[in-house]
């Protein structure tokens, strides 16, 4: 039993235990927190055990599942997967921590059910990143939708049914098309080897030698699934709806981790399995990526709803990540992978902070707020840190990533990169403008001054603020401070992360350059 397997099973066991405890919210919350912290603690030895100079896949384990089709239950991790596993290990305790403080469940719903779904989601997501059998990956990719479907549909806002079904159907359709491609890859293996297999390494070897035309068809199947998940424009429309309706903790999980499965899939599956197709179709992906950066940024600036704004910010950031991946440059890909981590930290923190704003004001409309920093200075400070990290200010973690993406991509794709830099400028616009509208100026807005004030009416700060609005509690600080430490720490000293991801990225890039070389 490898450490990785323990890490997959622990949250699943936790979910089963918490379901049994759903009669008592307090005990359920504490148990869930204990399981998530234990998982986080296990990430530390996992990280230590990873040897950057070793094999690409480490902590491997494998057992037969469906021998008739050469399907195994096999897990393993490379540097990229390790980083993503670490992120989810870090975020889940925070999501559980803010339950009851920032996140209020709908009336009549027990915390136990919610927490069990969160832990189930965590276990399945770790397993998705760790799967090294393409069939197993597909299975987990689809099964992973079910807890999220219930989290959005069961605990979300007014329009949650629509959002949950839309989320599920988009991802499910993408997954099914991916299944067609996976079966196609399997058939290639049958033709080539005589017996079929879904083993990732074997399929990479077989499929990457297939003719470019075959690769293009198979690539498109995988690409659609990942592009819906990531999400790239124009497959993104489910995310704003889902983000608007879901509880804050679920948005963190969705945007912070689940969507990364898409970009992770590009790196782990699309490029190694279909290098020729990746190169041939890279312009298409780059167009979508840059369109996502610009479109997401502009729409983010124009949103009136806080949670929808977060969704569009993420769409813009996923554009950057995809740009870095498909520029096929070691630097830009390292940038993209570290961006996957840093986006989780920065946007995750921004979502949590905005969730705290919403929990105090009781509204998700931006126009209901104004001058909040005067009432809650600490919350304002945290908001500023999260915002600056989101717009990639030098000194914060995101800066390194965005810089690497842009400098690396510029070498190979100068036009697309130049267009994407406009997104950096727009990021400053939407983040700072949001901060200004919510936090600065005189205290105003329905949410803060109470009924009758109406938007636009201004009052004296001391007199007008609702008494109920207080600054950050100890619990909330306990959730945010570790994030601040990581954001600034990784901004100043990103080496530990870069060391882990560099070898895996180098291997991905070298596949492409090998095939490029052989064709030229």
């Amino acid at each position: 039993m490898t450490l990785l397997l323990v890490l997959i099973l622990l949250p699943l066991v936790g979910a089963a235990v918490v379901v049994g405890l759903r009669r008592n919210d307090r005990i359920a919350t504490l148990t869930a927190l204990a399981f998530s912290l234990a998982t986080l603690l296990l990430v530390i030895p996992l990280w230590m055990s990873y040897e950057p100079s070793g094999e690409r896949l480490q902590q491997t384990s494998s057992m037969d599942w469906i021998p008739a089709f050469g399907i195994h239950i096999s897990f393993g991790m490379d540097g990229i997967a390790l980083v993503m596993i670490a992120v989810i290990g870090l975020l889940v305790p925070m999501i559980i921590g803010v339950l009851g403080v920032t996140d209020k469940l709908p009336e009549g719903r027990s915390a136990g059910g919610y927490l069990a779904l969160i832990l189930l989601q965590q276990g399945l997501t770790i397993a998705v990143f760790a799967a090294t059998d393409v069939f197993l990956f597909y299975v987990l990719f689809e099964v992973m939708l079910i807890p999220m479907y219930f989290l959005i549909g069961g605990y979300g806002g007014a329009n949650r049914q629509y959002a949950a079904v839309k989320f599920f159907l988009y991802s499910f359709l993408g997954g099914l098309i991916m299944l067609a491609s996976a079966i196609g890859a399997y058939s290639l293996a049958v033709d080539e080897l005589g017996s079929g297999t879904f083993d990732w390494a074997t399929l990479v070897r077989v499929v990457s030698e297939a003719p470019t035309e075959t690769q293009i068809w198979l690539f498109l199947g995988f690409f659609l699934a990942f592009a819906i998940k990531a999400p790239l424009v124009p497959m993104h429309t489910w995310l704003p709806d889902a983000a608007r309706e879901a509880p804050i903790g679920v948005v963190v999980l969705l945007v912070g981790v689940l969507d990364k499965v898409g970009t992770f899939g590009f790196l782990r599956y699309s490029i190694p399995m279909f290098p020729d197709a990746s190169v041939a179709l890279a312009p298409l992906v780059l167009v979508l990526a840059v369109a996502g950066v610009l479109y997401g940024s502009v729409l983010a600036a124009g949103q009136r709803d806080i949670k929808r704004l977060i969704a569009y910010v993420s769409i813009a950031h996923f554009g950057f990540i995809a740009l870095g991946i498909f520029a096929f440059n070691a630097q830009s890909q390292i940038g993209s992978v570290s961006y996957m981590l840093n986006h989780s930290l920065a946007t995750g923190m921004l979502i949590l902070v905005l969730g705290m704003v919403i929990a105090r004001g009781g509204s998700t409309k931006i126009s209901d707020y104004g001058g909040m920093a005067k009432v809650t200075p600490m919350l304002g400070g945290m908001f500023l840190i999260a915002g600056l990290s989101t717009l990639s200010l030098p000194g914060t973690n995101s800066f390194i990533s965005e810089f690497l993406v842009l400098i690396g991509s510029f070498e190979t794709e100068p036009v697309f990169t130049t267009l994407a830099t406009i997104g950096m400028v727009l990021a400053a616009v939407y983040v700072l403008w949001l901060f200004q509208r919510i936090m600065q100026g005189p205290v105003r807005g329905d949410a803060l001054v109470g009924v009758g004030g109406g938007p636009g009416t201004t009052q004296q700060p001391e007199a007008g603020a609702k008494k109920a609005i207080s600054d950050l509690s100890g619990k909330e600080l306990g959730v945010l401070v570790p994030l601040v430490v990581l954001i600034i720490g990784l901004g100043l000293y990103p080496k530990p992360v870069l060391d882990v991801i560099t070898p895996s990225v180098d291997q991905t890039v070298s596949v492409v350059h090998d095939t490029e070389g052989s064709h030229e």
Partner: protein
């Protein structure tokens, strides 16, 4: 006449391998005994006797089947063979044995559902018409008891199905088709509390079914004219030569296949399905949806693989189109349904389309994939109808979708089980429905039908929407003020639902062993 009698001296008893056909004989024998019980036992003792005989017969047949499989010859055998003939009338080969096992297991589940009297006072087959399903007649119902003629009918139908999917010539197949169909027509009309709907369903099914039988018979006669034999293997041999009239062959193939597609409720020959599924008593709907589908596709597989394989390039494109039409009709019209039983009916039409994809991939994997799909789909369907029969209001079963709103609040267990079964029908991984789809689609893909597979996947995604709609209703909607109650199921229904659900889960998580059974061997002829 004289000529006929003169042949009498040459007639010899066909060679019969009793061990091989024992399961079928047990089922038919029990059906005959069951008829006698119905005639001679006093009314109050019939139910227990009939249930006992039916269950014992199915389990006994299962034991005989397992005993035979233990030392069956590897390539399969044909039996009921006349002295000079090259092959017998029944083929007992690996697919037939698999289908028999499937049919017996599904039949057991259905008999359990039919036998239940606790969910609805007196059971669905109450003897006095006009009694409502409400509780005030419970005492009355217990006094009058249940009409038990449904049990011999079920056994006859089951025996017919087993014969049908093992028939090695078209004439045997036609007789088996009638043996399985006639009891089903009657059984559809047995719902006495919703007489009009039920009888309408029975008449529709009978009229359309008679047409389908006529098509089959007409096709059979054309093929006999073409090949000079009704044996599947002889037709295949004749088609390999080129000097005969292709018109006869193609017209014959077309008509025979239409008859089979009708039984399998494949679109566009599906029109009876929604009405009959809705009108028939729910346990009978379960029996038709699970067992008839297995039998129809079992027969279709044998006909396509054994008789028409040499001419596959002629009919493949037609069945390709049929598969697409069936999936499209099932998935799209399913979206518009308000009644749960009709919705499942359209879902079964979509599933029939998926099954056709496997059946026209004339490869080993196509055969084993389709067989596995039938097994998986049958168990899921039985459990689905079992759950549907539990949710009732004052007028009986509450099959309108709106009645299911907020069910999860009141009955989390029933809602949870039903959600799992719906996910299986939608083909979500870790359920048997997914593995079945995967097996069928991968076989079709390897056979060069990538486009068809993509269409099927899109249809799956569309169909997923209406399954999800039910899940949304149960979990995320407010319960209706005077909604239906969930009846606590009796031991029989509980057993049937548990059987279906557990098999759905097991085949989804560890399908390896059933895959091996399904792929144990090809057809013998």
């Amino acid at each position: 006449m004289q000529h006929f009698l003169a042949q009498g001296g040459d007639l010899t008893v066909p060679d019969i391998n009793y061990a091989a056909v024992l399961p079928v004989l047990i089922v038919f024998g029990a059906a005959a005994i069951s008829v006698l019980l119905e005639a001679f036992l006093p009314k109050h003792r019939r139910w227990s006797a009939q249930v006992g005989v039916s269950i014992a017969a199915i389990i006994g047949a299962g034991v005989a089947l397992v005993a035979y499989i233990g030392n069956a010859p590897a390539g399969g055998i044909t039996t009921f063979r006349a002295a000079e003939a090259t092959g017998g009338a029944l083929a007992v080969d690996a697919p037939a044995l698999f289908l028999w096992g499937t049919l017996l297991a599904l039949g057991l589940g259905c008999v359990l559902l039919i036998a239940d009297r606790s969910v609805e006072p007196g059971g669905a087959f109450i003897s006095q018409a006009g009694m409502t399903g409400a509780t005030q007649t419970r005492i009355q119902a217990q006094v009058t008891g249940m009409q038990t003629e449904v049990f011999p009918l079920t056994l006859f139908a089951l025996g017919g199905m087993m014969t049908f999917c093992a028939s090695n010539d078209l004439l045997t197949m036609f007789i088996a088709l009638e043996v399985l169909s006639l009891p089903l027509y009657l059984m559809c009309g047995l719902a006495r509390r919703r007489r009009l709907l039920s009888q309408e369903a029975a008449v529709k099914y009978f009229l359309l079914g008679a047409f389908a039988s006529a098509f089959f018979l007409f096709g059979l006669s054309l093929l006999y004219g073409y090949a000079g034999s009704v044996k599947l293997a002889d037709i295949a041999n004749a088609a390999a030569g080129t000097d005969r009239s292709d018109t006869l062959l193609f017209a014959g193939v077309g008509l025979v296949v239409v008859g089979l597609l009708f039984k399998g409720s494949v679109g566009p020959f599906h029109t009876w399905t929604p009405d009959v599924y809705q009108g028939a008593p729910t346990p009978i709907t379960a029996f038709m949806a699970a067992c008839t589908k297995v039998a129809a596709f079992g027969g279709m597989l044998r006909v396509l693989f054994v008789a028409f394989e040499p001419t596959s390039w002629e009919w493949e494109s037609a069945l390709w189109a049929v598969a697409v039409i069936s999936m499209a009709i099932g998935a799209i019209l399913g979206l518009t349904q308000r009644d749960l039983k009709r919705m499942i009916a359209y879902s079964s039409i979509a599933h029939a389309g998926f099954l056709v994809i496997g059946a026209i991939s004339l490869t080993e994997n196509g055969l084993s994939g389709t067989l596995f799909y039938l097994l998986a789909y049958g168990f899921t369907t039985i459990a689905v109808f079992g759950v549907i029969s539990l949710v009732r209001d004052s007028k009986g079963e509450a099959t309108d979708l709106s009645a299911w709103a907020g069910l999860a609040r009141r009955s989390p267990l029933v809602a949870g089980v039903f959600t799992f079964l719906l996910l299986a029908l939608a083909g979500i991984p870790l359920t048997s429905g997914f593995i079945g789809k995967f097996a069928v689609f991968s076989a079709a893909f390897a056979d060069g039908k990538a486009v068809l597979v993509v269409i099927a996947l899109v249809a799956s995604a569309v169909a997923a929407f209406f399954y999800l709609r039910v899940v949304v209703l149960m979990y995320f909607s407010e319960p209706a003020a005077e909604g239906p109650a969930v009846t606590v199921p009796g031991a029989f229904t509980t057993a049937a639902i548990t059987l279906g659900t557990v098999v759905t889960l097991v085949l989804g998580v560890v399908p390896g062993f059933a895959m091996d059974w399904a792929g144990a061997g090809g057809f013998a002829f």
